[in-house]
Symmetry: C2
């Protein structure tokens, strides 16, 4: 799957960190001495269980330092930046021999813990890697969350590998049929959340209703929208347009409250052309369609940028013109750049998992850390459980 995520997060300008910056005396370097139950006093119950997190209690993010095209150097730089500039508490999983010199470069050896993981999942490895590599850096990060030793995971590894590892190592939230991958589209003035962006290729209609609830919880937590507007991605505005899955999902979403759970503000069908218009806050679709739409969006933006570059370099007057426009064009490039945002988030697990762009540099990795802290701090797992309502006993395995 590789670099599938264009953009996510969208709370960077509002988040403002989780405290007045990272006080180094709060952090302990575990060096290579393995997993420590860091901060266990604050988190005496398992991750994902209902925990009161006051404004001052800060969450801890387990960063897979070995995942991504530019790992570990850029990932470490991003994690240190998130810690120093945004007050996010982070730890790194990966090969200490590689990570310690990088931390030393930033003088952060004393500030950021390393939890050793000698194995890692390559970018071109698929979902099977999650079974084959129980000691990979992403598996260790997930295990930390599972044991309550961290609150969220950040990885820039391949989407397929991260999703399957998370689904293997983390528990699904009670009542969640399948977790969904949520990504934020860079609409203006507010962001739009698209889910599922590729976790479930053949979902049931009931799962799409759950995706809506996951998306509403995310939009409330990360965007601060009280009543997010939800739209169903299909191929016509009128009810009844679409394939069988979309038509059935429409009926379920249109019921009040939709298929159990809390009521949602369902505004109906939307089309591909509405994804970037800000018409809705949450776009619900199956993982196949969502992934194709997301990559089409990325590809078209890249195509347009390439065409523009060509047009602006066509003649000396055009090149002079581009010089005069450099500020505006730079701002535009920044706005369209996935790295300004955080990353995709796998929703519906006990513990938030943020998947940064595979090509993430330090800036993208830092944004993903901030997003993960944002979601964990906002207790998105609790919000999701509340929204879905009491788990119906359809599947004993899914009971907590």
């Amino acid at each position: 799957m590789g670099a599938t995520i264009i953009a996510a997060g969208g709370t960077l300008s509002r988040a403002g960190g989780y405290g007045a910056g990272m006080a180094s005396d709060e952090m302990h370097s575990a060096g290579e001495d393995g997993v420590r139950n860091h901060g266990a006093g604050q988190r005496s119950v398992p991750a994902g269980a209902s925990r009161p997190l006051g404004g001052s209690a800060r969450v801890l993010i387990a960063v897979d330092a070995m995942g991504g095209d530019h790992a570990p150097a850029e990932i470490v730089a991003g994690a240190v930046s998130a810690a120093r500039d945004r007050g996010v508490r982070v730890l790194l999983t990966g090969r200490p021999g590689q990570l310690r010199p990088l931390l030393a470069r930033y003088g952060a050896l004393a500030d950021v813990r390393i939890v050793p993981a000698e194995d890692s999942v390559a970018m071109n490895e698929g979902a099977l890697a999650s079974w084959r590599r129980p000691r990979s850096s992403i598996a260790v990060a997930c295990q930390l969350v599972r044991r309550g030793q961290a609150d969220a995971v950040v990885s820039a590894g391949s989407t397929g590998g991260v999703v399957s590892t998370a689904r293997l190592r983390l528990r699904p939230l009670a009542g969640v049929l399948r977790p969904a991958l949520a990504v934020v589209l860079p609409t203006r003035p507010g962001p739009t959340l698209l889910l599922d962006a590729g976790a479930v290729a053949d979902p049931k209609p009931e799962m799409l209703v759950q995706f809506a609830q996951l998306g509403v919880a995310y939009a409330q937590t990360a965007f601060g929208i009280t009543e997010p507007r939800v739209g169903l991605l299909t191929i016509g505005a009128e009810p009844g347009k679409g394939n069988k899955l979309a038509r059935r999902a429409y009926e379920l979403l249109d019921a009040d409250p939709p298929h159990g759970g809390l009521p949602i503000s369902f505004i109906g069908n939307i089309e591909g052309g509405d994804l970037l218009t800000g018409k809705v806050d949450v776009v619900v679709t199956d993982g196949f369609t969502g992934n194709v739409a997301l990559k089409t969006l990325e590809g078209t933006a890249a195509f347009a940028a390439g065409q523009l570059r060509e047009a602006l370099a066509g003649s000396w007057t055009a090149r002079l013109g581009a010089l005069l426009q450099r500020r505006g064009l730079r701002e535009l490039a920044e706005r369209m750049d996935a790295e300004t945002y955080g990353g995709g988030a796998l929703l519906g697990m006990e513990g938030t998992v943020v998947i940064a762009h595979g090509a993430a540099t330090a800036r993208g990795a830092a944004a993903a850390c901030v997003l993960a802290a944002d979601l964990a701090h906002g207790q998105i797992a609790e919000k999701i459980k509340e929204r879905l309502g009491p788990a119906r006993g359809g599947h004993f395995l899914r009971r907590p």
Copy 2:
């Protein structure tokens, strides 16, 4: 469905008309005296049957003059332009009372026949209109093709209305399970065909294989490519990636020759990000995914253009810069403009149906007429029948 088609055609620069321009003495104005078997000497067998069409025998295009946001004025202007500038033989279906003054404005009353159709399908009417309105301008245009009195249909009406009318009024080609909507993406240097773009929301895997054959026939006819490369749109490059439909379609396409019919050059899976890279000549997908991808592509291009406009108007230096770049930017706008291309084509019927963009102006309508003539002249129906091979007797209704 409305204005769903971004761009199609792509043969404008090569087509060069079908003869040395429209000799007015070849054309007869039927006025309001109804359908005449115009040119019956050339076309003594029903449309769609094997007919030898030499370079000099010119096809006749039935233009639905009442379909589209800017009908009938822009459609009439486009049809006249296609006839005059590109040598395409056209007739108009619609209300003579409205069409005659328009033709008179261009001095084309004697050149372009009008076939009366007092009814028309509004842009917001859906598929049901095809049953309710047997005397609509689009229904009459299809009937002309069915009776062998025209070779192809052009309409800028709503995609849903045109597709359902065509499927009701025209015969499917022998052996074709379901017709598909094909649109051309403005990749460079060569165009890429995407199908299905919305005709069949829930196809069977076998239909996707047929779509590949329809697409190959189109690319051979309109792009002049001997052996078009075919890709399957899905969510990962490796075989086995995708939903159930895509995975099964991959197996069928990968067989040699694929599911009966002539061999195709199947290069494997492609992703949404590959749509505009020119990696393949023909992209095969189901109508739901194809329509979402197409509208996402359109929407993203519009979004990028809007962002660019904003960036270029940000300061006086930027505005001055834009002035210096006006030629390059104008060329860029033209390249991204759907109207430069022809329209979508419904493939797999006896008689080509080209669906222009709902917002088509004269330029878009003219391009659609040229594309329709191009396809009909290239005997795409015959090519498709040849590619699919002898019809297997799976369904007696589908036999000719």
